[in-house]
């Protein structure tokens, strides 16, 4: 995960899977010993913490990996006669958890143990605690006070804990602050962009994100925001929010949609859409060769897999020379048996 980046996840219709994604992000912070900041207007932060998934211990995870590796090579060679292109896929890449890059797997059927939570350094922002219900808003200010207060809260944590390098005492031990903001821009934040097409505070959200981006760029922190974009009526705001984020991913759940019964998607619970990938400090972005991803929720884990392979069009494909082509068809014909017997060229 890119340090100093702003990642916004566009929520699925009911917010089930995006909350899970946020929990993974926070749990990874707790396990890695990072400081964690959580902001929410709907759920009490303490209850979110208590609900974080429990990590699988290293031994079990390793065993899982090796057993997967053990069984896959032999069986794959035998079985993949038609979908032969899938054979060249790296085996582990197809099962990649969002946070598994550091080697942690979680069991979402259990919650994290209290000792582990206690050892983590956490900060929280719960809107109803800050502003009493029934409080009046000053509509003339540049940002609704909620966003401004959230910003000030984040800024004070960053400043006091020395993430911006201002506190010289902690220079030796560099740590990272993980900020998770749940359902930003929903009506509970006192913002009306979900309620009206021409809201009063048309720029409050984008101003907040710009300031947040400024804070992240000048400190050792990374932020994940989940946002109910399907509720925002004014599409212009969504485009601007995407422009202000470094990474944008969308979760499209199949719950209640026609796709639920489509046989293509029968193994999955939703699509994982990548709208924007970060380009920090470089001209090119680190693009994988496919962006068609789907996710599924198993009993114990949430996994993101590639939906299908991209069309084959690269420098290194076998089409580049006739000889290679002939070679590959030979291989093919032996693989496919009697159906493709003879030395006929197969055209795709």
């Amino acid at each position: 995960m890119e340090e100093r980046g702003l990642i916004s996840a566009e929520e699925d219709d009911y917010g089930t899977y995006s909350n899970l994604l946020l929990k993974y992000f926070l749990a990874e912070g707790v396990i890695s010993g990072h400081e964690v900041f959580i902001a929410s207007a709907s759920n009490i932060p303490h209850s979110i913490f208590k609900d974080l998934p429990a990590p699988l211990t290293d031994e079990i995870a390793k065993q899982d990996d090796t057993s997967k590796l053990m069984e896959s090579p032999g069986s794959a060679e035998d079985t993949m006669k038609i979908a032969w292109r899938y054979q060249n896929l790296p085996k582990l890449e197809s099962v990649s958890l969002p946070s598994a890059r550091f080697g942690h797997y979680y069991d979402i059927s259990k919650t994290m143990s209290p000792d582990m939570l206690q050892s983590a350094k956490t900060h929280s922002f719960y809107l109803p605690n800050i502003i009493p219900l029934g409080g009046t808003y000053d509509s003339s200010s540049e940002m609704p006070c909620d966003y401004l207060q959230l910003l000030q809260s984040i800024q004070s944590v960053i400043h006091q804990q020395g993430f911006d390098g201002s506190n010289p005492q902690q220079k030796g031990q560099k740590n990272i602050l993980r900020i998770g903001i749940q359902s930003l821009a929903s009506v509970l934040w006192g913002d009306d962009i979900c309620a009206r097409e021409r809201p009063h505070n048309l720029h409050s959200l984008t101003r907040f994100l710009y300031a947040l981006r400024g804070l992240l760029r000048s400190s050792l922190s990374v932020c994940v925001i989940t946002m109910p974009t399907h509720l925002i009526k004014n599409k212009a705001i969504i485009a601007r929010v995407r422009n202000l984020s470094d990474t944008v991913v969308g979760l499209e759940s199949f719950i209640g949609s026609e796709r639920e019964s489509n046989p293509l998607y029968k193994d999955y619970h939703g699509l994982f859409l990548v709208h924007k990938i970060p380009r920090l400090n470089s001209l090119i972005s680190d693009a994988s060769d496919t962006k068609d991803l789907a996710f599924k929720l198993k009993r114990k884990m949430f996994s993101i897999e590639r939906l299908h392979l991209p069309p084959d069009l690269s420098d290194t494909v076998s089409r580049s020379s006739k000889q290679d082509l002939a070679g590959s068809t030979k291989l093919l014909s032996s693989g496919c048996g009697s159906a493709a017997a003879g030395k006929k060229h197969l055209d795709f």
Binding site: Q155, R217, K235, A236, R240, N243, D315
Partner: protein, 260 residues
């Protein structure tokens, strides 16, 4: 600086064209690689630069510029480049500025909601040709004008501001203005669209970057349309491009190395 792009534009570092208003626009894709090209190109050509960077931090531009062969930090120290880091200025405006220090912040108009005069004054003060440097070409670069709209500035205020900048930098000081504007298609962002159309109309050189209609591709990252608006007869030319780590290769449509 991408030598291939220079060849396409007919530009060289000996004598950069003057009085140009160059507009870079991106649809559904990132066009900032062109901005990095112009940044390094004008620095190599010895122009004096004012860079209003609203989108990214200084270190981001500096790392890329080093890959393209120029050092922003030393250019800034030598006075060739004046860098305004919008992200930093805005957080300062929100958190640390006292009324006294706020008077020096070029983005202080964001607090009051008034016109962009402080930013304009900042730019003209930076690019005003002084006695010894009369031969130098002053250049103003703005990274992502559309961010001003996100920050609550109205379209009319932005248009006024750009017009003033063109009047001063292009006409009075005989320099260039380079703007990047991110376009959002199908987003019904009427303000941004109006801004884009107006600036396209005013530009002398228009560089439009679009993603491929057919979707993401590993070997062709997008299409670049170059339109010279100063000469009436010139037709827009279209190239496809692929971005590498340190350079960008351009080729005619359909002639990617991957399909030949």
């Amino acid at each position: 600086m991408f030598p291939e792009l220079n060849a396409l534009l007919g530009a060289d570092t000996e004598s950069p064209e003057r009085q140009q208003f160059i507009l870079i626009s991106g649809h559904e894709t990132d066009s900032s690689f062109l901005l990095n090209h112009f940044l390094s190109y004008y620095l190599k050509a010895g122009c004096s630069l004012c860079f209003v960077a609203l989108a990214q931090s200084f270190s981001h531009y500096n790392v890329i510029a080093q890959k393209l062969g120029v050092n922003l930090a030393s250019a800034r120290d030598q006075g060739q480049l004046l860098f305004l880091e919008g992200l930093r200025s805005y957080t300062q405006l929100l958190f640390t500025d006292t009324p006294e220090t706020e008077a020096d912040n070029p983005l202080r108009f964001l607090r009051t909601g008034s016109d962009l005069r402080p930013l304009y004054d900042f730019i003209t003060a930076a690019l005003m040709p002084s006695g010894g440097e009369r031969g130098k070409c002053p250049v103003l670069i703005i990274d992502d004008v559309s961010l001003l709209l996100s920050l609550g500035v109205t379209t009319l205020q932005v248009l006024d501001f750009i017009h003033y900048c063109r009047a001063s930098v292009c006409s009075k000081y005989q320099g260039n203005v380079v703007c990047l504007l991110q376009g959002f298609e199908e987003s019904e962002d009427a303000d941004n669209e109006r801004l884009l159309k107006s600036l396209c109309h005013q530009s002398t050189l228009l560089l439009q970057v679009e993603g491929l209609v057919t979707g993401f591709c590993k070997d062709v990252h997008g299409e670049l349309t170059i339109t010279r608006r100063s000469q009436v007869r010139d037709k827009p030319v279209i190239y496809q491009y692929k971005i590498h780590d340190k350079t960008v290769s351009f080729f005619a449509r359909g002639l990617s190395a991957a399909v030949l």
